[in-house]
């Protein structure tokens, strides 16, 4: 039997499921509702984004959420369109490139 690489993708998928489930609603609340209602102004948001801990938080959230979404959407596309081929490459590739971009931007920005 051919060895499957499925378990390799399942770990970041589950980690991403948990991290996005726990952290993403409050984060959306901050960037949508708190910013929209003026509870956070531009300088407040800039102060947050210059904090190294906030950047680490965002990199972790972005990366694991992308891996989670990549894995789920891969199976959605298989279920709906019986898509195959370069699908895995596109899904996980986006997550890997997104992770590298987030790390680069967070370190250099």
């Amino acid at each position: 039997m051919a060895r499957s690489n499925e378990p390799l993708w399942w770990v970041p998928f589950m980690a991403g499921a948990g991290i996005s489930a726990f952290l993403m609603p409050a984060t959306i609340f901050v960037t949508a509702i708190a910013v929209g209602l003026g509870w956070i102004d531009e300088s407040g948001l800039r102060r947050l984004l210059s904090n190294p801990l906030v950047r680490v938080y965002l990199v972790v959230l972005i990366s694991l959420s992308l891996f989670h979404a990549a894995h789920r959407l891969r199976f959605v596309l298989i279920d709906l369109l019986t898509a195959r081929g370069a699908l895995s490459l596109i899904c996980y590739g986006t997550a890997i490139v997104g992770t590298l971009a987030a790390i680069l931007i967070a370190v250099m920005g």
Binding site: M24, G36, E42, H68, V76, D79, A102
Partner: protein
Amino acid sequence: MATETRPRPYVRPMPATWWLHNRYLFLFMVRELTAVFVGGYALFLLLLLYRFAQGPERFHAFFENTLQSPWVIGLQVVALLFVLYHTVTTCNAAPVLMTVWRGEEKVDPRLIIGANYAVWLILSLLIILVAI
């Protein structure tokens, strides 16, 4: 000469709407489609980091034109609803994903679900308090 008569394998037709006719399949697909919003919002956060790294002027324009745009706020609120569904389904699935044993007995699944919601609420409060 005999022509080759290899039977073509039968592929059962599967219309892309198979999940619309059954409540459980529909809710399953809604849960799977929450990934569109989880991934989309992650890319939005990436854009936020990028605009911040580009310097104060670009960030100022991004804040006024994008972050404060009613369309973007509305889209984020829609994303929030889908992500909340993802949170609820993940918390409710927790006892299946990780069985916790206390000695010889399984811990009550309701306790595990409750603990997950408690952790979620505490983390959410912390995030909002730190940010505001």
